[in-house]
């Protein structure tokens, strides 16, 4: 069975993919479905779901919650993807160098990684974003900074063991240049776990971003799910819908990504083929 076939037989993963696709679709169609800004104070404040023609109600300033969720999908997915890409890239780079060259370089880089893992990551993210002012770039940077060490460790482990693999040794003995050994021999074989980790990292990034926004550390110009919850959390007793729906959106998205990531992990792991 190919990985794709294996993935297809995994019902949970397929459900995840479906939800994810729906979320992506929502994100893509947000400007069509809700052409005005999600910040637009479109209606009366405090409208309950379905009241006044607002599917999910309005918030304390009369902003359409459904519009916020649709536009929030764009923000959450995009931010998470960019942050994951940045974190993965950094992690792969560090991990590859450490794992391939070993010795002192490895020692040094792993110390650095360990150091970053010692500081509670969420605390670090909060501090970075707060100090350098909340904006897309600082949020992406902070998420990347706290998530690269995991990737680096994984990649290092992969490289460490793949470096000893006979086909890699063979390619060294053949006289292939180092960059080819790294990029053509080792990296493609380490890609499976990296893809899986990266996909799960997207989920973590969404959670991180929403947690930051919840604390008021989101980009103030971007309507995000975490923001919606954070802004309305004091109203939970009077207006449950304001923070319930964005939470459901986060939940579904993160769940979907996890399902897909797990599915990918199973599909890409040949050991599990029966």
């Amino acid at each position: 069975m190919t990985a794709a076939q294996r993935f297809r037989t995994n019902i949970a993963a397929c459900i995840g993919l479906l939800i994810l696709a729906a979320m992506v679709l929502l994100a893509v169609l947000a400007p069509v479905l809700y052409p005005t800004s999600p910040w637009e104070m479109a209606g009366e404040p405090y409208l309950r779901p379905l009241q006044g023609g607002y599917l999910l109600g309005t918030d304390m300033l009369g902003r359409d919650i459904a519009a916020g969720i649709a536009h929030g999908a764009r923000v959450s997915l995009l931010l998470a993807l960019v942050a994951t890409a940045a974190g993965t890239l950094a992690g792969v780079l560090v991990g590859a160098v450490a794992g391939y060259f070993g010795g002192r370089i490895d020692e040094l880089l792993m110390r650095a990684t360990e150091f970053f893992q010692t500081i509670p990551s969420f605390l670090l993210a909060v501090v970075l974003v707060a100090l350098f002012s909340p904006s897309i770039s600082s949020i992406v940077a902070a998420i990347a900074v706290v998530s690269w060490p995991g990737v680096a460790r994984l990649v290092r482990g992969q490289f460490l063991s793949l470096r000893q693999a006979e086909f890699v040794q063979a390619s060294i003995v053949l006289g292939e240049p180092t960059h080819r050994v790294i990029f053509r021999q080792i990296l493609p074989n380490a890609l499976g776990p990296i893809i899986v980790t990266a996909s799960l990292m997207v989920a973590t990034a969404i959670l991180l971003e929403s947690s930051l926004s919840f604390l008021g550390l989101g980009d103030p110009d971007l309507m995000s799910w975490g923001y919606m919850i954070g802004a309305s959390r004091n109203l939970i007793r009077d207006a449950w819908w304001m923070c319930t729906f964005p939470g459901v959106a986060i939940f579904l998205t993160v769940l979907a990504i996890n399902l897909v990531g797990d599915g990918l992990g199973d599909a890409l792991n040949p050991r599990l083929t029966s």
């Binding site: 006979e166 086909f167 063979a170 390619s171 053949l174 006289g175 240049p177 029966s274």
Partner: protein, 534 residues
């Protein structure tokens, strides 16, 4: 005592064949030692596990047939009853001694657990006494210490003895041993076989011994059963089957076993030219830390190793696991840097080379690896795999392609292989591809690190033939690393015996086999199983 009748074990859909075991019938009499032989995947282990009622629970189960043990059909026995039989009436030893014991439990506890499980009613002191006496019975030194030890503190041979102790603890009537010595060195293997044989004789236990090694069969079997693709193709008394195999497959199997004949090749004339490769005073020390809190330990993997290799000559390096064979080969091809000594290739010191110069020089010395699965990048097609060498040394793609096709032809594969991926080939075919890759650079020296030890005997024989062929055609000098003296005797002009990082003896196969000077070499030769028969 044990009767297997018409046993079928179907394979879940999508496998290469429908049945793992098909229509198998076999009898084992009390006190008898029956060997089941057959190549990898022939269904030996599943048969054994079916008897134990321990088929791997991924949907494998016996679909037809009966297994009758002392009048009871084991396949129909309730779980409880079966658990009562296991360990007490029927016990089993597994192949991998390194993983067969619970790593977190003291060895003594693992043995005495058996008494608890089967409610032997022994008190603590009695259990302890029995554990110690069992360990002593197995010639284990200092039983009291061993009982207190954890598995990781013991060697493979010791662990396998503990397994045997567990198997014999309650004096079962039937013991199933699934390749219990395959992972061990020949000398250790011989000790284990002797202990097993002795206990079996002393206690009158019936044994089903699974192996793929006809040497072992010859050494211990009363009766032999040969399996092929899930079916029992032949069975009979050991002598009869080995001497006059009836089935063609059995014949092929037995023919593939390397002969211990020392006369095969004429002595080569003393070389006149300077050696292609000369190694002098090579040393390598590893510093390892055991566990997190362990102290640093030095492993002297190579101690002052020296030898020379002449054009067209094959030097076999034999030695037990951990003797430093692989380390030697890696140092020579500069996958690692030796701590001391020099390696001269055509009089040029390899140790001085680095970067581009080293890469250029690599062309002359190539390597074939042990694991046919691991030595080919699963994500690259065969063509590019073979072409990679020439391309790295500046050959134009078209020319590299031509070379690759030529090399495939040389190793007996057709050019259509170029566009397929490694996993689409069998183990033997892959080993050919690995050879083609090494040869594509037209090296002068070829190092083969246990190139056949992962293969079945029949395939092994083909590859050895191919190697001989190629070597003659190309006039290669070759270093052939193996732990199997039979194989070494077949391929080598000279044999170097390694032990703990040192070459203890070097000589022609005839000299090594016939009149070894070194004690260790003599032990090695003596430990070759089935010497008398095959």
């Amino acid at each position: 005592m044990l009767q297997i009748r018409g046993l079928d074990i179907p394979l879940p859909g999508g496998g290469e064949r429908r049945f793992a075991v098909r229509g198998l019938s076999l009898d084992v009499a009390p006190g008898e030692l029956v060997c089941i032989v057959g190549e990898s995947g022939s269904g030996k282990s599943l048969t054994a596990r079916a008897v134990m009622g321990l088929l791997p629970d991924m949907g494998l189960r016996a679909s037809a047939g009966t297994i009758t043990f002392k009048g009871e059909n084991l396949l129909a026995l309730p779980q409880r009853r079966m658990e009562g039989l296991r360990g007490r009436e029927i016990s089993m030893i597994f192949q991998e001694p390194m993983t067969a014991l619970n790593p977190l439990m003291r060895v003594g506890d693992q043995i005495s657990e058996l008494f608890r499980i089967h409610r032997s009613g022994f008190d603590k002191a009695e259990r302890q006494r029995r554990v110690l006496s069992l360990l002593a019975d197995l010639n284990l030194p200092d039983p009291a210490r061993i009982a207190e030890a954890y598995p990781f503190e013991m060697s493979g041979g010791q662990r396998q003895r503990v397994m045997i102790a567990i198997a014999f603890a309650l004096g079962p009537s039937l013991l199933i041993a699934d390749e219990p010595t395959t992972a061990l060195d020949v000398t250790t293997q011989m000790q284990i076989l002797r202990v097993l044989k002795r206990l079996q004789a002393e206690r009158g236990t019936a044994v089903i011994f699974i192996t793929h090694d006809f040497g072992v069969v010859a050494e211990i079997a009363d009766r032999v059963a040969v399996m092929w693709r899930g079916e029992l193709v032949e069975q009979g008394p050991a002598r009869a089957v080995l001497g006059a195999p009836a089935h063609a497959y059995t014949k092929a199997l037995i023919d593939s076993v390397p002969r211990l004949s020392a006369d095969a090749r004429a002595e080569r004339a003393a070389p006149t030219q300077p050696p292609v490769l000369s190694v002098a005073g090579l040393s390598k020390i590893f510093r390892v830390r055991k566990g997190m809190f362990g102290a640093e330990r030095k492993v002297e993997a190579l101690k002052q190793v020296s030898f020379t290799l002449h054009a067209g000559e094959t030097l076999a390096v034999v030695g037990e696991s951990g003797s430093g064979k692989t380390t030697l080969s890696r140092c020579i091809v500069r996958l690692m840097r030796p701590d001391a000594g020099r390696i001269d290739l055509f009089g040029e010191d390899m140790g001085q080379l680095a970067g581009g110069a080293l890469r250029a020089r690599r062309k002359a010395i190539q390597m074939v690896f042990q694991d046919p699965h691991g030595s080919l990048n699963p994500r690259i097609r065969v063509g590019p795999i073979i072409m990679a060498g020439p391309l790295a040394h500046g050959v134009k793609p078209a020319a590299a392609r031509a070379t690759a096709e030529r090399m495939l032809g040389l190793v007996g594969l057709d050019a259509g292989a170029m566009d397929r991926y490694p996993h689409q080939f069998s183990g033997g075919q892959r080993q050919r591809i690995g050879l083609a890759r090494a040869l594509a650079l037209e090296p002068l020296v070829l190092i083969a690190d246990e190139p056949v030890s992962a293969l079945d005997v029949t395939v092994q024989a083909q590859i050895l033939d191919l190697l001989r062929d190629v070597r003659e055609k190309l006039g290669l000098a070759m270093i052939f690393i193996t732990h199997d003296l039979r194989v070494a005797g077949q391929v080598a002009d000279r044999i170097a015996v390694m032990r703990q990082g040192e070459i203890v003896e070097e000589g022609t196969p005839a000299a090594i086999m016939g009149s070894a000077r070194h004690e260790y070499t003599r032990q090695l030769v003596a430990a070759i199983p089935g010497r008398r028969l095959i």
